[in-house]
């Protein structure tokens, strides 16, 4: 069964139109119309181009976690002064026989009508369902201004993706404090969590590193680490940064200094248990928009060696210990689209203390870069 044709309606007619489209799709079947809604999902973006990409991703999101989707397009290129509402219904297959419906309302606001959006959202949220705000604008949430706070008024979860942030150092520096603020800002009796989709992308890298850490611990590998070099593709610098803030935090390293070569490399010197290891996060100009390789230079069995973790065939993470004749250890990493990651995040509403601890380390790392940058500028 195809989805319905998106149809523009006045704001006050949205609910009626949703039901009408569902009945139309259902046809002459006299069974009650079934709609499946596990959550409210409010998505905020700031361009038609981004909205078009989101529209392609939303079916995958609601397949994972059925939700009433409110896609908000704050189109700064449009001078419109009024909100435009478009309604769309999608069939969801239930097992081999029945089907249900999910629903999407797109609200488009020209630059003079953006302030109407939070009001319209209030009217369209469904009570008793968890509300999620997916912040799909390019500006990091800490710098989003009042619109984010107004949209998050009734949200229990704010989902964002730090991938591709234009000024990673400032974004990361501000995020740890913002997390604290937004999660406490729900008021008494109202909890709220914030989740970075980028953190989810690190799941397999972290698993691989933990296994390496545990397996190599007896051999003093990480204690002897002299340098970690991370190579990442375009747009993945924050991803690499978060992974390293997690790892260095786990290892108990303390940041000493940091410096940045814009667009090429960020380097930190740490104080570790047995020396002052370096961390280099290096940008590759091509390849996957993810972390591509991690090399940990260390000593194993009194000899200089290195732990080399890298992406193999795009579907596996591989681990090799340089200078040691061992079979390559690999871990399968199922491909997960951004939509799937968001869909899974919607049902995962528990605060992740590891994420928060890592962001605190990331903040310290960011500050050291900014101090260096400000010092150089001064």
């Amino acid at each position: 069964m195809p989805e319905s044709s998106a149809r523009s309606v006045p704001l006050g007619a949205v609910e009626r139109e949703l039901l009408r489209q569902m009945r139309e799709l259902q046809g002459p079947d006299e069974r009650p119309v079934q709609r499946t809604r596990m959550a409210n999902l409010v998505i905020y973006c700031t361009s038609q181009e981004r909205a078009a990409r989101l529209n392609a991703e939303i079916p995958d999101v609601v397949n994972v976690h059925p939700a009433r989707v409110l896609l908000l397009v704050a189109d700064a290129d449009s001078p419109g002064t009024e909100l435009e509402a478009t309604v769309l219904v999608r069939p969801l297959r239930l097992g081999s026989h029945g089907f249900s419906f999910s629903e999407q309302v797109t609200l488009t606001a020209g630059r003079s009508a953006v302030h109407h959006l939070p009001f319209a959202v209030r009217a369209l949220l469904i009570g008793d369902l968890p509300t999620n705000l997916w912040w799909a604008a390019p500006v990091p949430p800490p710098f989003a201004g009042p619109i984010l706070y107004e949209l998050a008024e009734h949200a229990q979860q704010i989902v964002y993706d730090s991938s591709g942030w234009p000024d990673p150092a400032r974004g990361v520096a501000a995020t740890a404090g913002w997390l604290e603020q937004i999660e406490r800002g729900g008021g008494p009796g109202h909890w709220r969590v914030a989740s970075d989709v980028n953190w989810q992308r690190l799941k397999y890298w972290r698993r691989m590193l933990v296994q390496s850490l545990e397996g190599a611990e007896g051999r003093g590998l990480f204690e002897s680490a002299a340098e970690i070099r991370v190579e990442h593709g375009p747009g993945a610098v924050v991803q690499a940064w978060m992974l390293m803030s997690w790892l260095t935090g786990q290892l108990g390293w303390k940041v000493q200094t940091g410096r940045v070569e814009p667009g090429v490399e960020m380097v930190w010197r740490f104080h570790g248990p047995s020396g002052e290891p370096l961390l280099r996060i290096h940008r590759r100009d091509e390849g996957l928009e993810d972390i591509q390789r991690i090399r940990i230079a260390c000593r194993i069995d009194q000899r200089d060696s290195a732990l080399d973790l890298f992406v193999q065939d795009g579907q596996r993470l591989a681990l090799r210990v340089e200078g040691v004749e061992e079979a390559l250890r690999t871990m399968t990493t199922p491909l997960q689209s951004p939509a799937e990651l968001v869909g899974r995040q919607l049902s995962d509403r528990e605060r992740d203390p590891v994420f928060r601890a890592s962001m605190s380390v990331a903040q310290i790392m960011a500050r050291s870069l900014l101090e260096c940058f400000n010092g150089a500028a001064g």
């Binding site: 006045p10 704001l11 006050g12 609910e15 039901l19 006299e30 009650p32 119309v33 809604r37 596990m38 009024e82 909100l83 509402a85 009508a113 302030h115 109407h116 009001f119 319209a120 209030r122 009217a123 369209l124 949220l125 009570g127 008793d128 369902l129 968890p130 509300t131 009734h154 008021g187 008494p188 009796g189 109202h190 909890w191 969590v193 049902s347 995962d348 509403r349 528990e350 605060r351």
Partner: protein
């Protein structure tokens, strides 16, 4: 009455025998007015389409035309106005063949409510209609008039000999009195005394259209026809109850194209406010159905006894408790359906300009509340210690009314739920409008190896389950009056008990002489001040 008639909407066999609408004339006082145009005439039209009106039936409108004078045939006038109202507001679309059938039984007598000659003309018209339609002199008078005119109307009816003896079965007379019944306890008693001097209590139907809504009636069925709920329906299992009536409309309505004011309720609402308009009647009546003890029968007086029992147990508030447990507020400029809308005070000023009436001095800086929230307690064994939170307001984000029963939390230790992300409590919510239905939020395990709990909502929607559209509340209630069933109407002692609960609040406000009320933006869920009566209890207002 023949025994072979069965009524499908009856709840109890012995009541159903009396639930057949009886032949009569429905005489609408104020037939040219707003209520008649929007609600009453479309309701009767729908009853006609559904084929549930008695065979011998007609509608006679009475009152002054909306324009103040009439040129042309009065019957044509009311037919035209009815057709206009039906085409705009009817549940079922205007159908020419049905319309012709309906229109032939629709008449109008122009006249002032305090003019004895007009009642003579009304009497003559009704007698002629009796003859024409074979109606045995039975009447239902619907007083769709301001409360100040109720006394005038009933006294004239009595003086004109238009009220039958209450013992009359075939040629009965019944009167429907619209809310508000007074603006305080004394004026309510005055109105009821005047009506009581002309009509017996058994002839009097005090209407509250909320009670005609399917979901409200379903409260009785839900509670008493499902064995799983009633055992839990008490202070041991229920944490609290929230009743919300949110209106999207403000005082005035505007033409969406021109932005000009096209209608206003300022003449009624200004100086009345949300407590009188909503809480004293609709919300307390719904509260009664939620909280009453199981009646032993569905006979009208048995149900009404149970409801009055609740009202009598409402804890009366002291001035200090009014300060603590009641919040009132007024809307200011904000946003509804993507459009800027003005604040209340501005609407009042503009309304009086449109009505071409001078703005009363007390309305210059009006302190009429458009929002009220309160916490109340029912001091009986069933509800001891359970707070009931009531909230109503105009210009809220959407039109939505519901009753929400929130059950007590379970000990969270079993599932190791982190205290900063608590389990959502089980909530049973009954939506009264716009989409009538009920929903239950329960906790469910998310698929996967870990025990992760997620709230899921099971919903039942009247229109999608039963198809079609539910009858409008007025349809049901008008039909009930024709059938002589007073179950869903307020009895005199119930009205008094409701006013007795509300009066300490009104008296305290009167003494406060506030110059400004707390404010909330149009398109929001009320003022931040409303949180202070619920958040300190560890609870929150629900998002509808």
């Amino acid at each position: 009455m023949p025994d072979d008639f069965q009524n499908t909407y009856s709840l109890e066999p012995d009541v159903s025998k009396s639930l057949l609408p009886q032949s009569c004339q429905l005489v609408i006082f104020g037939a040219a007015g707003d209520l008649s145009w929007r609600k009453l005439l479309p309701a009767v039209y729908n009853l006609n389409i559904d084929g549930v009106l008695p065979t011998h039936f007609a509608v006679v409108g009475f009152g002054l035309p909306a324009e103040g004078h009439l040129s042309g045939d009065p019957d044509d006038y009311i037919r035209q106005r009815a057709k206009d109202g039906i085409s705009r507001f009817s549940r079922q679309p205007l159908d020419e063949s049905h319309w012709a059938d309906f229109a032939r039984a629709l008449f109008f007598v122009p006249g002032s409510f305090n003019d004895a000659r007009a009642y003579a003309q009304l009497k003559a018209k009704m007698e002629a209609v009796d003859q024409q339609f074979g109606i045995p002199g039975s009447r239902v008078y619907y007083l769709a008039v301001p409360p100040t005119l109720v006394g005038t109307c009933v006294e004239h009816l009595k003086a004109a000999g238009l009220i039958a003896d209450p013992q009359q079965v075939r040629s009965f007379t019944r009167v429907i009195v619209e809310k508000p019944i007074g603006r305080d306890l004394d004026s309510a008693r005055d109105i009821m005394r005047v009506v009581g001097a002309c009509f017996a209590e058994s002839q009097t139907y005090r209407i509250d259209h909320y009670l005609g809504k399917e979901t409200v009636q379903n409260l009785l069925v839900l509670r008493f026809a499902n064995s799983i709920f009633e055992p839990l329906w008490n202070q041991k299992y229920i944490d609290h109850v929230q009743i919300t009536v949110a209106e999207e409309e403000g005082l005035a309505q505007y033409d969406p194209k021109t932005g000009e004011m096209i209608a206003t309720r300022a003449g009624y609402y200004e100086g009345v406010g949300a407590l009188r308009d909503m809480v004293q009647n609709h919300m307390l009546q719904v509260l009664c159905l939620v909280a009453m003890e199981p009646p032993w029968s569905l006979k009208p007086d048995v149900v009404r006894d149970a409801k009055v029992g609740v009202l009598n147990c409402l804890r009366r508030m002291t001035p200090a408790e009014v300060e603590k447990h009641v919040v009132r507020a007024q809307y200011i400029e904000g946003d509804i359906q993507g459009k800027r809308v003005p604040g209340y005070r501005k609407e009042v000023r503009e309304s009086f300009e449109v009505m071409k009436k001078p703005l009363p001095p007390e309305s210059v800086h009006s302190t009429t509340e458009t929002f009220v929230a309160l916490k109340l307690f029912i001091d009986n064994w069933r509800w001891a210690g359970v707070p009931f939170y009531l909230r109503t307001g105009k210009r809220m984000p959407k039109r939505a009314s519901e009753v929400a029963i929130q059950f007590k939390d379970v000990p969270q230790v079993l599932f190791g739920s982190p205290t900063d992300v608590p389990l959502e409590p089980v909530v049973l919510s009954l939506r009264v409008q716009p989409e009538e239905g009920l929903a239950m939020r329960i906790a469910s395990k998310l698929p996967g190896p870990k025990v992760r709990i997620y709230p899921v909502k099971m919903e039942f929607n009247y229109s999608s389950s039963f198809g079609g559209t539910s009858p409008e509340a007025y349809e049901r209630l008008i039909l009930d009056v024709m059938a002589g069933d007073a179950t869903l109407f307020m009895r005199r002692d119930g009205v008094e008990a409701a006013w007795q609960f509300v009066m300490p609040i009104l008296d305290h406000w009167e003494q406060m002489h506030v110059r400004d009320l707390p404010e909330y933006q149009c398109g929001t869920w009320g003022p931040v001040e409303a949180d202070r009566i619920i958040v300190p209890d560890g609870r929150r207002w629900r998002t509808l």
